[in-house]
Symmetry: C2
Subunit: 165 residues, 2 copies
DNA sequence: GTCCTCCTTGCATACTTATGCATTGAGAGC
DNA sequence: GCTCTCAATGCATAAGTATGCAAGGAGGAC
């Protein structure tokens, strides 16, 4: 932000403002749109809450809660469910050599060195059924939350590793 | 306020309701708290918007925007900054054997097979300085956004891999 | 049993966010 | 130059969310 014209109103203000909003949201704690309006004013973007509301939608910002209340966050790739599931499907299809379940424990065999990748994809997909995963070098241990969960998981994972792209 | 281990709560409705809310939010499109109130009524949880508002905070639900407006989503682990940073610290301390930077490129040497894990943790922490990472088997390439960013990163990562638990 | 404490909830309302409508200014086409 | 169109925006307000307070209920201690 070195080249900083005195007035940012009018032409081209919106993209710059969007960048500023992302930086603000990533950098500090923005709890309300009024916070954002205030910070933007300090950076000479004379906008109102209405505009900020629209910006927030356009940027896809998230509202989350921490101990002290609501707050805005920059978007996170992992939120895209489709993308996450696609990643898991790819990981399963390409690296998984076999799955078996023993009680609550799923043993997923992968190509050497691929277990962390597969485990990560499993974690990322946040299945209700999965309590957690542990990845070694070529094996991922998946701990299911219950026996029915384990059964469902086995079916789901099997169908995934068999699916075509 | 003392140690109360397995205190049964009220009518016991709250935990069940929380599970129902998570399922609703994961399963369908919940755009407002009133939507949630309506769905919960259908499932015989006679609650009001005020309670749902509190539940949403307790569950850490996210509010996001899609094309059709705001909507609630189930929480995603990567959003927990503390947890994510802890994960990165652990990964750095346990698996990283050395870091060096060449211009914008950081080369992180890890134990064999651990690079994806470390790279994932780095991605997850969403440092402003990091444009992206590529993980091989025992090496992670970290691409910084600028030379100053690269310097800051080197310092941060080094201090992390040296920290005690 | 009584008393006490803590948790949960609804109600009313304060606070925050979203949006319909009107205005403005930039750029395109003439 | 003029006029048209359209994105961007503010204003006012509707829509949605959060919260202080008080009530009700369960469990523990006695």
């Amino acid at each position: 932000m070195s080249a900083n014209p005195t007035r940012l109103i009018g032409t081209g203000a919106k993209p710059a403002r969007h960048r500023a909003i992302l930086a603000l949201v990533r950098g500090g704690v923005i709890r309300t749109q009024e916070d954002l309006v205030a910070e933007l004013h300090r950076k000479r973007f004379p906008v109102t809450q209405a505009t900020v509301s629209r910006d927030i939608r356009e940027l896809g910002l998230l509202r989350v809660h921490d101990d002290a209340g609501p707050r805005y966050m920059a978007p996170v790739a992992e939120l895209d469910v489709e993308q996450t599931m696609q990643r898991l499907r790819n990981a399963m299809r390409e690296h998984v050599q076999g799955i078996e379940f023993v009680d609550l424990f799923g043993i997923v065999h992968t190509a050497p060195g691929c277990a962390p990748l597969v485990g990560g994809a499993l974690d990322g997909s946040r299945f209700e059924e999965v309590a957690g995963t542990i990845a070694g070098d070529d094996t991922v241990l998946v701990i299911a939350r219950s026996r029915p969960a384990a059964q469902r998981l086995l079916l789901r994972l099997n169908s995934m590793s068999e699916e075509e792209a």
